[in-house]
Symmetry: C2
Subunit: 276 residues, 2 copies
């Protein structure tokens, strides 16, 4: 796929046969949980949900942020393989939890050509990729603010920049829980990616309740406090300790290991146990 440095350059090619063709891409919402050390030595480090964004360097949407993604190699790969390739490229990791989200096909998604894009959500434990990221790539902490039932504000922040977008939610049919998302305020995120980000986060919020996918964001050994914080940060609500412990009791296995040096009673380390 040719990249254009300018609109002029692009317009030269426009209306040629090139633009009758259909292209497909995959876009990947890579989600992880970041930890911020607290000033108080007693407090546990604060957790935040974070996603990986890439700064565009070419037309269109030059200098805006977008999800990592890439064009499907029509001759040689499936969409899943394409998504895996993009992830490998971005993180140097191959075994990342990956799940197809939704296929978007708006006619005006990309001004260069007709593009249909299949989005994926990927979950990873940040400890696995401490190595330096590619240039123009950055983790952004995510805060979701539900203004009301029909409007969501998303705030994305890294060390240098804070991005704020607003998305309108419209119920598609009265018989279902499916919403049509539409960005009504967005200056920094390219393509239809605000919608992809929200779809992915909503999916994660739901799915954490009836599957074990959280453990894809956890290291091998973790304390129940840490695990609870991840649940809390994704669902965006405080949970009661005893209730939480009962719920996840049969999904984890206590190990001999103990976490000490945290300014309070040491905690047992657990690991994931597949159950059922």
């Amino acid at each position: 796929m040719k990249e254009y440095q300018s609109e002029q350059e692009f317009l030269k090619d426009y209306n040629s046969d090139e633009f009758e063709k259909l292209s497909m891409t995959t876009d990947i919402l890579l989600v992880s949980v970041s930890s911020k050390k607290q000033s108080n030595y007693r407090k546990t480090s604060k957790k935040m949900m974070s996603i990986l964004l890439v700064k565009r360097t070419n037309y269109p949407y030059k200098d805006m942020w977008c999800l990592p993604g890439g064009f499907l190699d029509v001759r040689n790969e499936s969409l899943d393989e394409c998504a895996k390739r993009v992830l490998k490229n971005e993180t140097n990791l191959s075994n990342i939890y990956l799940e197809q989200l939704y296929t978007f096909s708006d006619l005006n998604r990309d001004p260069r050509m007709r593009v249909v894009s299949t989005s994926y959500i990927a979950l990873v434990d940040k400890n696995r990729l401490k190595e330096n990221l590619n240039e123009n790539v950055s983790w952004f902490d995510v805060i979701l603010l539900e203004e009301d039932k029909e409007k969501v504000d998303i705030v994305l922040a890294n060390e240098e920049e804070t991005i704020s977008i607003t998305i309108k939610k419209t119920l598609k049919e009265k018989t279902t829980d499916r919403y049509k998302y539409q960005a009504i305020k967005n200056e920094k995120i390219a393509f239809d990616h605000p919608v992809v980000i929200l779809s992915g986060i909503e999916r994660l919020k739901n799915k954490i309740n009836y599957t074990d996918i959280v453990f894809n964001m956890m290291p091998e050994y973790f304390t129940l406090g840490e695990l609870q914080q991840v649940y809390e940060v994704i669902q965006n609500k405080k949970l009661l300790d005893p209730a939480f412990r009962r719920i996840i009791a049969n999904k984890v296995e206590k190990t001999e290991k103990v976490q000490t040096g945290e300014g309070h009673r040491p905690s047992a380390l657990f690991k994931y146990k597949h159950h059922d």
Copy 2:
């Protein structure tokens, strides 16, 4: 999209530029519930889940059955619009519940060219389309037999034909509920459609529990008995009357109308009421 009557004719074109292009299709699993009158005048008519299939008349998969579907008009429509167009073509109805299922992209899906296909599930009340169907189109009753956790038999039957397929289920990751489906016995269903059929039915089975989508398969006025039967046939298990009535109590509204002449106490007719 050119149709080929024979493999020879097709092979003439093969390896030409045509086959470097990517095409997209939508496949639609149209689900409804059929009623079979019982011989005993007292008994209520027996309900079955049924799906619409089309008999192929051209190469490839000539004479096999497949889901209604069609190629995406790259210049002019989104995938949703494409799916709606196909449905309108098949049923003459425009306002049918339609929901995107999954995008399949196996490299060898169609021997003619590279095809990526987005599947949809559609729900309809059969009473709405009593008119004669197109030629080569037929409703098939569906029976799902879960042999064990890793194997499912699907039996499809219309008045003339019974089709039996077996699908192997493999858990994709231990942390989730997602399965990879693979047809291990199938002689009559084209493409990867056995997998699409199963995915759709599983989605429906799940979603009926936490949304109101059943009502898309119901007429405007219905008895609670009929509604319960639809739940039972989709979930493939018997429900207890009082429990069921409590569960759906705030989703329905009692009307003045009454259903009589059924060989037993007449029942109140209800209609859907959006709640929450």
